[in-house]
């Protein structure tokens, strides 16, 4: 694994952009683009990532970028890839960079279609667990119990598991990552770049205004998500599932995760959880670890 100091110095997310202070998206995108490099074409649906670019006629992104309708990231990527292929430019990486809303919800169908037809691209869902661009509404990725402006008393359903859905598509590479583990993220993006076919990656991206925590804690929050087992980091390569970093121990049962309360209590969105809710969340998490423990043993 490459050391932090050896990560490329090239920056494709320029200074003076429109992200909120402490934004997780720019952290994630900086690292991913360091891995993919200059020969990347990006497509971005409606999301905070569209806003971050700043206003016409300027942009803060330094790789060619197509903005596209909220639900159309993966479909536009299929078009970009086909056009590149038709022109013999098979060395350019196609990156669809979408939020959880654009991936779990309104863009799911386009994503599933692209996975099924074998588009050669990397789809990254940065998951801040809500529609942050429109002011914190629930998404399919919003966890149980979280306050949003469309779930005032806490979300009643558990989140969708999109990485699991991606795996059900039998694609060559699925990986989850966290902005708090940049070398792991870098490595995964590099690997995805080398694999032919559809690749799905998902990055947990804690958003200070949306989750209601202090803007200096973005990375800390992403780290705690992993250390408490609220977020699992893994790779699924040709049917084989491997866990990375702290997630490995947590899933295998060899590492005691930090109490999830540590993570929940730092976030204003979980302020109104009852003790019962917390117990349910703990049970659900355990169930998830157990599921993945079995799954990783077998597959």
């Amino acid at each position: 694994m490459v050391a932090i100091k050896d990560l490329p110095e090239e920056e494709y997310v320029l200074e003076g952009n429109a992200a909120c202070p402490g934004c997780p998206i720019t952290i994630a995108l900086r690292t991913v683009l360091k891995a993919l490099g200059k020969d990347t074409i990006m497509t971005v649906p409606a999301s905070c990532s569209a806003v971050i670019q700043s206003l016409y006629p300027k942009t803060s992104f330094a790789v060619p970028t197509l903005n596209i309708a909220f639900e159309a990231a993966a479909a536009s990527a299929s078009g970009i890839e086909a056009a590149l292929h038709a022109q013999g430019k098979d060395d350019v990486t196609v990156l669809a960079w979408a939020g959880d809303g654009g991936s779990y919800d309104i863009g799911l169908q386009a994503l599933s279609g692209a996975l099924e037809r074998g588009t050669n691209f990397i789809y990254v869902c940065y998951n801040n667990q809500m529609y942050s661009n429109t002011g914190v509404q629930r998404s399919g990725a919003t966890p149980y119990g979280a306050w949003t402006t469309t779930t005032w008393t806490g979300k009643k359903e558990r989140q969708k598991n999109l990485a699991e859905i991606a795996m059900a598509h039998n694609i060559p590479y699925v990986a989850t990552a966290s902005i708090a583990y940049p070398t792991d993220l870098y490595r995964k993006a590099k690997k995805a770049k080398e694999i032919k076919g559809p690749k799905y990656m998902e990055i947990i991206a804690p958003c200070p205004p949306g989750w209601r925590f202090d803007m200096s804690k973005t990375v800390e929050m992403a780290k705690l998500a992993v250390e408490t087992g609220a977020w699992l980091m893994y790779e699924f390569e040709n049917g084989k599932l491997t866990f990375n970093g702290p997630s490995k121990g947590i899933v295998e049962g060899s590492r005691e995760p930090k109490p999830v309360e540590d993570w929940l209590k730092m976030q204003g969105r979980f302020r109104n959880l009852t003790e019962e809710d917390i117990q349910k969340i703990k049970r659900d998490l355990k169930e998830g670890w157990e599921f993945y423990r079995k799954k990783s043993q077998l597959f």
């Binding site: 200074e15 003076g16 202070p21 402490g22 803060s60 200096s216 804690k217 800390e220």
Partner: protein
């Protein structure tokens, strides 16, 4: 023909350093050059020079660098305006 084609520009939103309420200040003596601050800065506002070099024209003062610095070499000071 006009369509919305934009060109990569630093300071597309202007000098975002003016958004800052707190200013990160590096204490070189403490710094162990782990480059955590550099890799995590959401603003690409830290450059890898001999020491981490914060670009105050753009640093929005989020404090992530200070929070992540393993040796507390970065201090957040209230911006005076």
């Amino acid at each position: 023909m006009k369509t919305t084609i934009s060109y990569p520009t630093k300071e597309a939103m202007g000098k975002t350093g003016s958004w800052r309420v707190f200013r990160p200040v590096l204490h070189e003596d403490k710094c162990i050059k782990c480059w955590m601050c550099w890799v995590f800065c959401p603003e690409s506002a830290i450059r890898k020079e001999e020491f981490p070099k914060i670009d105050y024209d753009f640093c929005k003062g989020c404090g992530v660098c200070a929070n992540e610095c393993p040796v507390n070499a970065i201090e957040m000071r209230r911006e005076e305006k």
